[in-house]
Amino acid sequence: MADAATRGEPLRGGIYRDMWVYCEQKDGEFLPVSLEMLGEARRLMDKYAQDYKERENVVAVVLGHSVDGLAKQAIQRGADVVYIGDHPELATFRLEPATRVVAGMARAKDANKAYDKPRYFLFPATHNGRDLSATVLAELESGLASDCNKLYIEDIPIKHPVKTPGGERIFERTLGMKRPDFSGFEWSTILCLNDPEKEFYPQACSVIPGSFQPLDTSTGRNGTVVPYKFNLGERDLRVKVRSRRKLGGGVRLDKFPVVVAVGRGIGANPSEGMRLGVELAKALGGEVGVSRGVVTAKYPLDANSKKYAEEERQIGETGQFVKPKVYLALGISGAIQHKKGMDQSEKIVAVNTDEAAPIREFSDVFVKGDLYKVVPPLLRAIEAELKTATAAPAAPIAGGKA
């Protein structure tokens, strides 16, 4: 029983419970994606309780050093149980010790956990989260779907030569994991299923940041905190992090669902024009980019606006390439060099005084007008529209940016 679990041999008739969520934290704060996953886990397990008339828990896993304070937040945001792996050597994430600890937690049997392994396990699809999901699942010898953005739990009928040699059968309580595939051309649903000889648990996936919504903080929930005891040996710590430094490279505009691009149309009053762009971007949860013309114009900008007219924010052939959900072009004529940097955007909205500007040819929405006159009322209308919509604006695609 316990031996098989720790030796990693396939269990038969094992007991699998709960949805575990690896809640990545950095420097004492959860990454936004951790709270998003907890929110989704809560929703999935609440529905699970409804559908199967059995309550199973959402278990948050938190690794780090001096991270007890995070347990309360994890519970608030959806966890029933929080496993804490606290150790000085875990202050900075390292793959090997983290794998050992998480796999150990998953297999452990103790007063808090009477089952063999988790039923489901969610990881964040961040650089470290993805790596961890891979090694933990290799250690637990089960299946993993990466970069998922939609999950559901259902009884699923399957007919498969290896999984169901005798013909179709129903796989109960199976986690359906959907992910965009083939460079965004297809959407695959991945399932982790037992075969006649082996049980594959947990059914695991890594989750794309921004896919789900966290719970409201005012839920007033209760839960249990379990400090997990473990030792780390020299071999676990053989990879060392010598140093960390912030990437100087500036803002990555392709991580935002909305990009507001500002062009030479702001020439009449550059600081004001830039300010309007920044406000618009903030309201929509996006970021500000500029055309090359703004970079080379060297407008005299005030202190707040200056940093936006830098080459690092330039969009175009010799700048960044973006394809956000919404691209808002303010005062941009649409030269070919600029077009090449953004014409794959899902929806392109242009504001320009010139109806014959080239950008009209590749926009979905063209607003004829002076941006100084159009953007303030547009901003107000957007804010009003957002309030009436049911959820908050989408968070940035990659977590971690302030």
Binding site: A268, S271, T296, A297, K298, Y299, P300, D302, E312, T318
Partner: protein, 556 residues
């Protein structure tokens, strides 16, 4: 461990490759560092490659069978001077000038030529552990204990060598940052712009009356076509294209105010050229470069410690009238730099490599080309009084008769074909503009053309160039953006023009926070062709882009 080679050559153009070839084949472990993506990628010529009969140190000294192996365009067997006065043209055959001490001559395109030459060098240099490494920008000398001991680059750790040859061109960062020379002043430079026009082989031979593939001609254009700017146009016949361009004194361009590409367009639009260019005008590559006027700025002392300077970097460019000797002087100087090192090494006298090089240069055709003109006729040619008299004569009734007569034209042609006279001729409006204009006005025939050619705009020419932009790093920065300090860049820069929206320099109105308007010079460095004009004409911080970055040519 600091790397060390026997010799480091900076720049894989003709001078650099020549130096490296001579070094390598004499067993010196030679490293050539080239800034472009490959040798030739950033090079352009408006010239002809010569081999001279008064020196052994030509290309054939290094590669005896180069005529079979090198990618050469046509040999130049005829040199014609077209005097222009509006649409009147008088053509004088000045082949004799071109033939002075000329053993052989070829039109070349630098991208394929330099690439071939450097690949020969690389093969040879690999044998002794050296070779040609591209995409490396040498930023200056390695100085240890107050002496130059090697080079410092942007892409590699510093490297030591017993001798360093700076052959990194007219804009040489190495020679300037070693303190051997400065930027040179506005009157000490020529600026050349050029286009390569594709033309089928048969058309070239038919229109220029050539005798098959092994025949070619060079053409010079001077007169009143260029708004009085001092200089002239050129056309060389390549195998399947034409190199057409203009070369002007930089100070004359600056004083006149017309962008150089527009002056080139005047030439291209002239009926004489339109008849040649004909129905389908297939212009490909636009290019430009600064050319040092060696007569004024050649380095007397092209060395410091163990650093020797050769080619354009040292001002080894001699214009004798329309005859431009640049590439071959660079080759000769490069070979001599190598030989100076080999001699110094043989005699255990490495610290003397500089003086040995200087001596060898002085004794060679390089020294001869830059020696002050000798002789009575030469002194006459330079005398302002004599020039004024000549002009007065030519304008007089007698003078005009003289110009219209066959005898007069023969005498004139003889005078114009004299190498010493051409070398000594002053850089005045008389020489470049007035004299040819008078000849054409009096003795020329009107030329008409029905051919319509659509010239490319500057924006189109820039759009056709290839760049690998070093995003986030601007290699040129305007330090004083007032029109007074840097305003001339807006039209002297070969890729700038008041009407161009894609170019480098612009004059713009900036709206200040108090509502006032300020005229300022604005730079977009991305279309830069790295000629160096703005370093001379404006107040800027000027550097080369890093290794492998910036503009690259296809023809050169």
């Amino acid at each position: 461990m600091v790397e060390k080679f026997d010799a480091i050559v900076v720049g894989a153009g003709p001078a650099g490759s020549a130096a490296a070839m001579e070094l390598a084949r004499n067993g010196a472990r030679t490293l050539v560092l080239e800034r472009g993506k490959f040798p030739g990628h950033k090079n352009v010529t408006g010239g002809i490659l010569y081999g001279q009969d008064n020196t052994p140190y030509n290309l054939d000294y290094l590669v005896p069978d180069f005529e079979k192996r090198a990618p050469l365009e046509r040999p130049i067997h005829r040199y014609l001077m077209h005097c222009l006065y509006n649409n009147r043209v008088k053509t004088l055959d000045i082949t004799r000038l071109h033939g002075h001490h000329t053993k052989w001559s070829y039109a070349v395109l630098r991208v394929p030529f330099d690439r071939w030459f450097a690949s020969e060098v690389h093969k040879e240099a690999r044998k002794s552990g050296g070779g040609v490494v591209s995409e490396v920008r040498v930023t200056g000398p390695l100085v240890e204990d107050g002496r130059i001991t090697g080079v410092v680059t942007n892409e590699l750790e510093p490297i030591r060598a017993d001798v360093v040859v700076a052959a990194d061109g007219a804009t040489s960062e190495l020679a300037r940052n070693s303190g051997i020379r400065s930027w040179w002043s506005e009157p000490e430079w020529f600026q050349g712009v050029k286009v390569v026009v594709k033309m089928p082989k048969d058309a070239v031979e038919e229109r220029f009356d050539l005798d098959g593939e092994a025949d070619g001609s060079a053409h010079l254009f001077a007169g009143n076509v260029f708004e009085g700017v001092r200089g002239g146009g050129f056309l060389y016949t390549n195998k399947e294209s034409l190199s057409i361009g203009t070369v002007f004194h930089l100070d004359s361009i600056a004083a006149n105010g017309t962008p150089p590409h527009k002056l080139l367009d005047r030439l291209l639009a002239h009926p004489l050229l339109r008849n040649w260019l004909g129905a389908y005008y297939d212009e490909t590559e636009y290019s430009a470069k600064l050319i040092p006027d060696g007569k004024k700025c050649v380095l007397e002392r092209p060395w410091k410690d163990n650093l020797l300077v050769a080619g354009d970097a040292a001002g080894h460019m001699k214009a004798a009238g329309p005859i431009i000797k640049g590439m071959n002087l660079g080759i000769t100087a490069g070979i001599l730099a190598a030989r100076a090192y080999l001699e110094a090494r043989k005699t255990g006298n490495l610290p003397q490599v500089g003086p040995i090089y200087e001596r060898m240069l002085g004794d060679s055709i390089v020294g001869e080309e830059f020696a002050p003109p000798r002789g009575f006729m030469a002194r006459m040619a330079r005398s302002p009084t004599m020039n004024a008299r000549l002009e007065a004569f030519l304008r007089s009734d007698m003078g005009r008769l003289f110009l219209r007569s066959r005898m007069g034209q023969k005498r004139l042609t003889k005078m114009l074909s004299d190498y010493n006279l051409a070398s000594a001729a002053p850089d005045t409006e008389f020489t470049y503009v007035t004299l040819p204009s008078l000849v054409a006005k009096e003795a020329g025939e009107p030329v008409r053309s029905h051919a319509e050619i659509r010239l490319r705009t500057l924006d189109e020419r820039i759009a056709a160039l290839g760049y690998d932009t070093d995003i986030g790093t601007a290699h040129i920065e305007v330090l004083d953006d007032t029109p007074a300090a840097s305003g001339k860049t807006v039209f002297t820069c070969p890729v700038s023009s008041p009407e161009s929206s894609r170019g480098c320099y612009r004059l713009e109105n900036a709206v200040l926070s108090d509502g006032k308007v300020r005229r300022q010079v604005v730079l977009d460095v991305q279309p830069c062709i790295e000629c160096g004009t703005c370093a001379v004409e404006g107040v800027v911080r000027w550097e080369h882009p890093n290794g492998g970055k910036g503009v690259g040519y296809q023809y050169g």
